[in-house]
Subunit: 195 residues, 2 copies
DNA sequence: GTCTATAACCCGATAGAC
DNA sequence: GTCTATCGGGTTATAGAC
């Protein structure tokens, strides 16, 4: 059966999500109207509601998918090895993954406050799961004597803050290559937790 | 001459700025209406325009005053000493200053995108001046042999990102004291740039 | 200096035509 | 599936009374 002419659900749906991600990241959730998202997609505002029940769900879905994909990607990238090896894998993975998805990390860290409470709680669980992965590595390194981290929870927060910062200033056309930046950050992180 | 009854310019003016800072930090610039600011102050929306030409100026002024006070406070807190001594002063100053003003740093880093271009450019100059202070310390440390920082500019960004992160999770009622947090962060920073 | 009222406009979300 | 039109309400900023 030929698809009905003018039916683009499988094209428009993803486009709505992409447009929302781009605009939320650029201007902030509260500053982006459904009309602006629609204009970016190339449809009228009313048509968006075929793909999302409301604006809040759009934000929530973007964050949830991002966090789930992040967790899955790290599970894939994690290595069997010594704590220093795993920490290097984490640092390089985190930078690499986020430099490829600057919009995602931007909304994941900046738009948490615009989630309604029950949505916030769900995303927070995923975020903490990711952080816990790093905490586990730091604790293993303390146990093995490779690291001297007085408070692994605090150190994990500090490390993630540092690594996240790269997305705020890195530009591909800039002075330094991704590989260089990745290596320098890893070197700083390595030294900061070393025994 | 007795002041005219109902004249509270010197009280209401600062209250408007305080209310705007509090609400911008809590809910985000775009999500805060002039009516909400007025309600927080205890006046009607129209009265705000006696103290600010518009909402944008309110944000710009808050950021500008914050950055100027930050620069002045660091100029005061900076020490004459070796690069490691100056770096410690910077780390402790930065954490201490920002933990005392969580709302200020929040808007200074999160609401940059809501500044109109010419305002953004002015704030950016001040922000870069502050960062340059740290870059200078790192370069001096490289020269003296105390530090081994391959790219002082990048390292400064990384360090500030790491230190800023503390404001997103630190709570006075929490597990760790300010002094403890300050010392652990300083220790990580010290090691991360050490020769 | 602050108020009320209002101009001019934008918002999220829905209804119904096609 | 997408459109136009619209409801009910919010927005910034201003005008004029007191």
């Amino acid at each position: 059966m030929a698809r009905k002419s003018g039916s683009h659900a499988d094209i428009t749906g993803p486009k709505v999500r992409e447009a929302a991600l781009k605009l939320f990241a650029r201007d902030g959730y509260a500053a982006v109207s459904m009309r602006k998202i629609a204009a970016e997609v190339g449809v009228q505002a009313g048509a968006l509601y075929l793909y999302t029940p409301d604006k809040q769900s759009l934000l929530y879905d973007l964050m949830k998918v991002h966090m789930e994909e992040l967790l899955a990607a790290w599970a894939e990238a994690d290595v069997n090895g010594t704590p220093p090896e795993r920490l290097e894998a984490f640092a390089r993975f985190h930078i690499h993954y986020h430099l490829d998805r600057p919009d995602n990390i931007f909304i994941a860290y900046m738009e948490l406050r615009n989630l309604e409470p029950e949505n916030f709680a769900e995303i927070e669980v995923l975020r903490r799961r990711y952080e816990q992965g790093l905490i586990d590595i730091l604790e293993a390194g303390n146990a093995s004597g490779d690291f001297a981290v007085p408070d692994p929870k605090l150190a994990a927060m500090a490390a993630i803050s540092m690594l996240n910062g790269v997305t705020t200033w890195f530009r591909d056309e800039g002075r330094l290559s991704r590989e260089t930046v990745e290596t320098i950050y890893w070197d700083m992180l390595r030294k900061s937790v070393a025994a």
